[in-house]
């Protein structure tokens, strides 16, 4: 029973991080039609920058606020100068461009911070452990589990009620129609890409104390978030939530119940979903 609960909690905390990444990925895809390979690298940058800020100003919270903003500013530059020229091109070329950006950022991080892994301590309030039955559980992971739904609800409210959220949804539904009624697509695209990057940076900053910060964390998470977005349905927000939870739980339960298969489980799930519902669980069949 305890093992079960620990698995659930581990799955949820990782799932919540995946959710933040996938949310950005799916929004960018839904509106812009671009599957961003570099999204994991933006996540990784968020983690590194928050780590650096925490060292300089020794405040986790300021790092959490500013790291995603810095990542978003970088994303604006990437969108404006690199992505914009390839919107009209074949999807493969967009994928390749972001693949190149990923290689650049991943190695750039290695150049700046070295290949070693860095440890980040959670802030004092959130450090320590919480007793569960006769075991203990890190408070920081519980904080992550609470942050997931909190950010999810804020995003949901933003997309449902705010003017900008509605514009983004409209553009995701029918880009051409949105342009006809006066949405300025270029600015919207930049904003959406920056927003996605901000979410990735936020996820990275939150992930920093959860795991060690190293140059491979972006590459690791991007594939998992691709799977989340694809099985949930590309461009679907509830899909990203459900997909992230499934993948998080699959990871934690797989690690204890089928350690040999754990690495393959997400891919098997991906194949099953794609072959039975090609547009994902929440995707609309064309």
């Amino acid at each position: 029973m305890e093992g079960f609960l620990i698995n659930v909690l581990n799955g949820l905390s990782w799932g919540m991080l995946l959710f933040l990444i996938s949310m950005g990925l799916t929004t960018v895809f839904g509106v812009m039609g671009v599957l961003n390979f570099a999204h994991g690298s933006l996540f990784m940058l968020g983690a590194y920058i928050s780590m650096q800020l925490t060292r300089w100003i020794s405040s986790f919270w300021l790092g959490l606020i500013f790291a995603p903003i810095i990542v978003a500013i970088l994303a604006i530059i990437i969108e404006r100068f690199l992505l914009r020229p390839v919107y009209g091109r074949d999807v493969s070329f967009q994928l390749l461009l972001t693949f190149g950006v990923m290689l650049f950022l991943d190695d750039g991080v290695r150049l700046i911070w070295g290949p070693a892994h860095h440890l980040v301590n959670p802030p004092d309030v959130l450090s320590g452990v919480f007793p569960i039955f006769d075991q203990t559980y890190p408070v920081y992971r519980l904080f992550l589990i609470a942050m997931g739904p909190a950010i999810g609800i804020i995003l949901w409210a933003f997309f449902s009620y705010s003017r900008y959220g509605k514009i983004i949804r409209a553009a995701a539904m029918d880009r051409e129609m949105a342009e006809i009624i006066g949405v300025r697509a270029p600015i919207l695209f930049t904003a959406v890409f920056a927003f996605g990057a901000w979410l990735a940076g936020l996820g990275g900053a939150l992930a920093a104390p959860h795991q060690s910060v190293g140059p491979a964390i972006g590459e690791h998470i991007i594939i998992e978030s691709f799977i989340v977005v694809v099985i949930g349905g590309m461009g679907s927000f509830p899909g990203a939530f459900v997909g992230a939870l499934i993948l998080g739980l699959l990871g934690s339960f797989g690690a204890t119940m089928a350690p040999n298969f754990q690495m393959a489980l997400p891919y098997i799930l991906l194949a099953i979903v794609l072959l039975t519902r090609p547009r994902g669980i929440f995707g609309e069949e064309s």
């Binding site: 190149g100 190695d107 991906l270």
Partner: protein
Amino acid sequence: MVGLFSKNFFVGFLVLILMALAPFFVTTHWVIILTEIIIMSLFAMSFNLLFGYTGLLSFGQAGFFGVGAYVSALTLTHLSSSFWVCLPVGIVGAMLFALVIGWFCVRLDEIYFAILTLGFGMMLFTLAHNWLSVTGGSDGLTIASMPVLSIFGHKIELFNPKFFYWVSLTVVSLGIIFLRQIVKSPFGLLLTATRENSQRVSFVGQNVRTVRLVAFTIAGSLAGMAGVLFALFNRIASPEMLHWSFSGKAVLMTILGGSSVFLGPAVGTAVFFVLEHFITSYTTNWMIFLGAILVILVLAFPQGVLGTLATFFSKLNGGRNSD
């Protein structure tokens, strides 16, 4: 079909002769680099049968490359020490995997195809990484002794880099000639047609899925063929050979050379390795350059090195298309 005495035939023949003579003029160090280039060329060209000709972006091509590598390593340790056994068995192994996995993958296209091939490729990676008793896990399978290759009773020493180079060159050339025949055949035109407009292809009564499955299987088999050579070249079959980032290499080399020209991926591979060789002698952060080069290529030269040159020369020739 290409005319036997056409210009292209002569150019190809000349290049082949020069390649065959290369070991007499360069150091062993460069013979080894050249060997890696020609093996990886075949891998990249097998990928491009799917990408450039059929319009399917596969991120799982390394899976079949790796199957070729592992199956040949297993054959050498358990079955036979002959090159004539391990090469065909490796190819057939990759072919079977490609046939089964392709059967699923060709149902989808565009991004979904890319993601699904990535998924299957990573399943193969996990298999190689975790099936300790058969594949040796993350250590891989070392090839303790090179296979025996005898032609008409004459033994060829494969552990001599020069001989291995010539054997690789022969095998890769045969693979490339085979690919050439495929893309120039009516079936090759059908592949291009499914890339351009798959709906029309089905309107004229062709089964798009079958066409794509055949292409997928051929591409997988040739990747396996390259994988066999690569395992022998490195004396090991290791899980990294199946990882999606290895598939990414094929994508990169193809774009670098140009996906719209037949030999583009081979030229891209050569450029890739030569660049890697020079840049890594100055810095260990070669990926940063690679990323920048890829971004610049996609933005400014989407046709790649050979594609851009071909367009340039055909303009010089007064717009005549020189294939």
